[in-house]
Symmetry: C2
Subunit: 266 residues, 2 copies
């Protein structure tokens, strides 16, 4: 099985390495910037490309790992290449997938592509950090059962957790991910700001932050809610709101969370 | 140095074990419930008590690890015992500390206690999970320099991270902890609710949650904010708000966080 990777950003880069380490052949890596394609290709023995017209449309799977709003356009270009390649019999059309949690399969509609799917690693990727794919759920989907099976098999080579999610489920997972990743990170930023303004190192909060995440393996977050709101400790809540006087936006959030936690708990 | 522990809840229990493991003598453990005192005392070779009048006021340090709103009353009772114990010379008065992030040193005012302090482990404790004190910052304070030194030395026996925080600083750390622990856990609960309603296992989100916390060791959360809000990806934001139609409270939070993140990022 030969794979072509379109995109050498965080997702494409790390996915390519994971697949290659699992023994999957990455034949080409495309990026608009040849240097980026080269960095990624060097790790996986692939050929770097900055010309989309040169991608090998006889590959088994073409993985489009580009920004969400570029997926449709890239797919249309690939569809044109596929139909132009007279050497390609219809039965040998490659399977085209994107890697986006936020993008429905319908992004491929009206491209003329026949075999389309999703190969979505549910994780946050940063260039500096080596992701451990054995810890990353792979969420897959396809427009036909055979390709769904193919993507499940491919995903299992890099992760023990493979989940079939349809468009709606993947969209809801993506929304939930925004809450537990993006919004949680904003709460961390609030903690950092409050400490900075008191000349206290933010590192002091890191063990608490890590344990808050780690203890979920022991039980549901709903069952483990603690703190003044859950305890209905109105004296502490009042004092906290006083301390937050110079942070009106944080006060508002404090009010809203306290109210929500008390409604859920009561 | 002999220590008396008042309270055998999560904090008292785990703190007692950590001190004992560090070679500190725990002479007595008090709890209103003798069985709870016994469980804690058994781990540390201490004598379990359910009668506060029997505590040893010649101990070096008495650590009050009870609910915030009970600290003042327990302190008053201890003060009475100390002054009643004619055997105790004023210079041998024990140092009385509480373990609360939310409680100022002034809780000891008008108790007559002369040597008072704070011995606050900055972590969330659950009965089922063994905390690793080498990862828990100890925040200490005292009403005199000598006792501050004593508490810093005691804290260093169980943790490499010891921070002197005055009342205001500790209060602000406690507020920040509410954001990064209690409110973050509520965001986890929202993620769990959304997934449950789509029959998707919450476990799918755990690697993302853990990585969101873990990557803070690589940089400031302010610098690492990702997602549709930070990208000003209005199309995805609109779709997410549509998906959240049946969750008006989550929609409101989504709006507020998106707005806040965009203001901070812009």
């Amino acid at each position: 099985m030969k794979i072509v990777l379109i995109g050498a950003g965080n997702v494409g880069y790390h996915l390519g390495i994971a697949l290659w380490q699992a023994g999957v052949e990455i034949s080409q890596v495309f990026s608009r910037k040849l240097e980026k394609a080269a960095v990624s290709a060097q790790k996986t023995g692939a050929i770097p490309l900055d010309d989309l017209a040169k991608i090998d449309v006889t590959a088994s799977v073409i993985i489009i790992a580009v920004h969400d709003d570029a997926i449709g356009e890239v797919a249309r270009q690939i569809a044109n290449l596929v139909s132009a390649a007279s050497a390609v019999a219809p039965s040998a059309f490659p399977l085209i997938t994107h890697t986006s949690g936020a993008t429905p399969l319908s992004v491929f509609e009206r491209t003329g592509l026949r075999r389309v799917g999703v190969f979505y690693p549910l994780q946050t990727f940063s260039m500096g950090r080596q992701p451990d794919f054995s810890q990353i759920p792979m969420c897959v989907d396809a427009n036909n059962a055979e390709d769904l099976g193919l993507l499940i098999a491919l995903a299992k080579r890099i992760s023990p957790t493979v989940q079939h999610l349809d468009d709606r489920q993947r969209a809801m997972v993506h929304v939930a991910a925004v809450f537990v990743n993006n919004f949680t990170n904003h709460l961390y930023t609030i903690g950092e700001t409050i400490l900075k303004n008191e000349s206290i190192p933010f590192e002091l909060l890191l063990p608490l932050i890590r344990e808050t995440a780690a203890k979920l393996s022991a039980g549901s977050p709903a069952a483990m809610q603690t703190g003044p709101a859950a305890r209905h400790d109105e004296a502490t809540i009042r004092r906290h709101l006083d301390f937050l006087e110079k942070y009106p936006a944080y006060r508002e959030l404090y009010h809203i969370f306290t109210d929500r936690i008390q409604r859920v708990i009561t």
